[in-house]
Subunit: 342 residues, 4 copies
């Protein structure tokens, strides 16, 4: 259920409606828009008495929402959400006219590697630095990430290069630490339906980047996003990273058609990860161009100064020179789709 | 790496080899077999000095294991693992000659529903009772389970009907409680690669039932199992529950060919879940027969005394009469494949 | 549209209704049942004037059929279709109480190989002999089959061992020849939507065995069958042979749940091909048992007396001893599901 | 096997090598390149005596080709193949610097519709006209195309608007007629492994456009292409049109990563069909931009002046205004990837 307020409704009127909703044992989610405020209602197991709400001052109408997702829907918020990430070098926005490029190694391996890659990322002009301190690995015997020492290295990258940090949390414990050290909390594909983790991310004070699961439908993806918003965190960025199919010429099959599909249903920004999406270094640039051409709000790419010696995902990491070429090509495509690249 | 001990090696000799392994900064996993003990070594990032181990008394040979999974492999343990579950009504074994049938509702909805279903399950002759107190649901607005009060109802079922309890844990917090109240800790398909949860399950004192992920390959499934064994919990039961494909006449596509594939690679027992595997009540019996015919060690099925009013998964729950028919048909198939049904 | 006739309607009445239908520029398909005759109408692009048909003598009612398939549907014919195949050793029925086992090599390689395998097939008690004279091969440089000389060898097998012959046609030309030499015309998975070939098969005088396409949905499979029936050939046998998924432990993923799904929607018999369905010799027996347990009307399996030297599909061909074991196990499962194996 | 000739080898020397190959009962395929001629050998079931060929004058070396496809491979021909299509308005090239846009209705419905759409296609500046006279339809009761009368309408479109014609053949009979009336013979996705039809197309005198099958791997796609080249027709254009996956927000999942994958393995040009690839009108433009950005040699799109009344595929047909917008956007993307759009 959505309560649509008049465009000139006062803050008091909005607050009064929220109070009434909460007094009914439900949860109110005021969603300010440029023209009007809408108030999402969650927590109801059955029908809500619309009459008493519609009679309140400042209310235009109550709209029953039939879609299984509410808060992520364009019904709840018509204009695009712009996620704002404060960094030492200024605010980075995701979802506005400017594209966002997130780059860095798959994993933080050690201080030297992180600094070497960060220097290249900064030089190429990317906006945020990625790098895993907690790595979800298929095998228990693979490198699992440095943990908190890795986060400290990332914090140093932040300090030294002015780059905001995006890094993955894999459970509640690591999320506490990632929230402390990083600027964006990443939830990986394997955890897209780890609902306990989603709820915790929904209570975090930092923006969240949620990757699509390997075999998630569009509805499941948006419902996972709904878990985060329903806990109160509206600073959410989605990310397509390829799905699992019979096709074997790439590691996953990058499903670029989900970009316009998400954009027609939801106000949330969406990025593309061409590194996991293809799993092949030689495919990262062409698919990056395609991702921007289809309308994505940016990219998250793996880059390594020495991919052949990377502890993980070397085969899909591009080298610094390729990142510079990528930035150049993306800039050109951006102008065609009326976007900019700062 | 596996260290194979002589068939007449003493406990002291086994302990000495383990001590040597641990003194190298590695982890030793003694795996007793009917003829010999093998000792799995994990934690090595590179080659191990075989010579010093092979020279120890009681050691036959050291075998480098090339497969990415070690402890779950038949190389590590030739004979089938039989998981033993103590219940008030006696020990239930999974993986031996006798088949195990686990039945119960999708979710524990309330005390009356749980008791009503449990009575039918007991009457039909099933061996363990299933029922979710923590439900991973696609939507944040769906019924999420009763939590600990649900576990208490399950404990009452255990007491009253003598049935061992199988129930799902969805995060570390719920796992602590499930470990306390239940007999088998279930890890659901969506959490098959929630490695943090797998590690916690690997430290649990109760057997674990691990469901295959929706798009997991055989190797990924066995590697998820390896996470649990590598933490020291060898009481593991696998479960096929259907994979996600283009096919739409069933909710998932039940992949029965994975049963013999697992059995040739691993010593672990494997069940089939025909309820999630098909998502259709009318398909549960035929696929149950097929699962036993192909060689599964048992079934886990959803049953409800009033499926049309179930809070979740009513469409795939069979009714008590169908469970009795299922037990009858399974018993007949069992004898063909040289298994029994107590 | 289906016109349902009274149970005591005369042949003249049926013929009169058919004449009226054809006078409307449509096509009439009388479908005799044990209780009543139904007349399927095809060829209409829009609504049909029901009134004039319902007013005719002998007509009970006219039922608009909303499903996209008509003639293959149980609405058109309630009781199971039994396809009857005359062979030198007597009639083989597919779809009745007795199961049918079709066995033989992937391809007819030469006279000696065919006779050697046929002897084993006969000895094991299988009912029909399979073997390809026209092989659809992924590569143009692979063995493409012997063509008509292969059909002549099959005719000799028929003569010598009294086994009916099942062999594949890959285009209209080979279908003409297969129709002449063989007892059942097979349409392979790759040609399931070769509609030109389906129409030709629909005009054939011999029964057709239609394999499910590699990525065919249930509806597409039944619609392909509808192509054949709509041309007048009602002697059709369906066959599940595995679908293409991400799963890699078998060559295809055998979808046994389609057996009960077909049986609830259609009156046509359906077999299972565990050889292509798994692509692994060691999986053929377990999946054969499962196929019979789930309710299939029989099996089509590849057998070779010397699989390691087979010109095609050796890896999935069982040896003669395994075929005998298969017959034994299938016989035992059959009795559980109230079927027989002659 | 490939025989690589010296760059200054004479025509006589090439002919002599071909004669020798054919005298061995094999087939020679001379493949002229800008620097050298290579001669592909097909038809060998085992090893070939390299020595006698390498000793011939003009021969540099003989290279055993391990890949299952030979003639389509870049090993056989390093530079891109440019398929040249003569049309009344001049030659249209596919595979060179200039992109090719093929547009038109799903099916030729009648003369008026074809002319109306053709006028829009011409006005928008597309290069070739598509439209089906033979339609492979899932249901036997759906509109199956006009047949030869449809081809005559297409010939009239050719005459009146100067547009070359691309239309589908579905069997040998229709291919004979399509070859007579059209400029490019299309083989649809459902027939990608109709090897009999591929062989016939390989003998045709007109270029062929081969669509990827719904669940075809890259290797199967290239092997299907190899069937056509191995019969002597080197004028082949490939086309990605989406694959079948679990994903349901589009009709198929467009796999754009196959474009660079094909281009690294093969010299053949490849187009993208965003209409079938998405099945949704609103997704055609974004995916068209992405297709050009990733490096495709052009597009084949469905356009209809009145999609809501189209006899087939209306939901995925764009309207004429959208085609003009598409041409504009494609032109802008083209310049970024160093291509042109005439």
């Amino acid at each position: 259920m959505l309560v649509v307020m008049q465009s000139h409704a006062t803050e008091e009127q909005v607050r009064a409606v929220c109070d009434r909703i909460e007094s009914l044992g439900l949860r109110a989610h005021p969603i300010p828009g440029s023209n009007r405020t809408a108030i999402g209602i969650t927590g109801n197991s059955g029908a809500i008495d619309i009459g008493s709400l519609e009679a309140m001052s400042g209310v235009v109408e109550c709209i029953p929402v039939s879609k299984p997702y509410k808060l992520v829907s364009r019904d709840a918020k018509e204009e695009n959400t712009v996620v704002r990430i404060p960094t030492p070098a200024g605010e980075v926005c995701i979802g506005g006219a400017a594209l966002a490029i997130i780059a860095g190694p798959c994993a933080v391996e050690n201080r030297e590697q992180a600094m070497a890659v960060a220097q290249c990322v900064k030089k190429a002009g990317a906006h945020l630095f990625r790098g895993g301190a907690y790595k979800p690995r298929t095998s228990p015997y693979s490198f699992q990430g440095l943990g908190e020492p890795g986060l400290k290295i990332l914090a140093e990258v932040r300090e030294r290069f002015g780059l905001g940090i995006v890094t993955e949390a894999i459970d509640n414990e690591s999320l506490d630490l990632v929230e402390e050290y990083a600027d964006v909390i990443q939830i990986g594909a394997r955890n897209m339906q780890n609902f306990s983790l989603l709820k915790r991310a929904g209570k975090a004070s930092k923006p969240v980047l949620l990757k699509r699961g390997m075999s998630a439908t569009l509805d499941e993806f948006l419902m996972a996003a709904e878990y985060i918003l329903s806990e109160g965190n509206y600073q959410l960025i989605l990310c397509e990273r390829g799905v699992r199919t019979f096709s074997e010429h790439t590691r996953n099959t990058l499903d670029l058609s989900i970009i316009p599909a998400v954009q027609s249903r939801s106000h949330l920004p969406i990025l593309v990860d061409p590194s996991h999406g293809t799993g092949r270094r030689s495919k990262v640039l062409p698919l990056s161009r395609a991702a921007i051409a289809v309308g994505a709000d940016g990219l998250i790419v793996e880059v390594h100064h020495d991919p052949d010696r990377a502890l993980s995902d070397g085969a899909q990491s591009i080298i610094p020179e390729e990142l510079e070429e990528l930035m150049k090509e993306v800039r050109q495509i951006a102008s065609v789709v009326h976007r900019t690249l700062n």
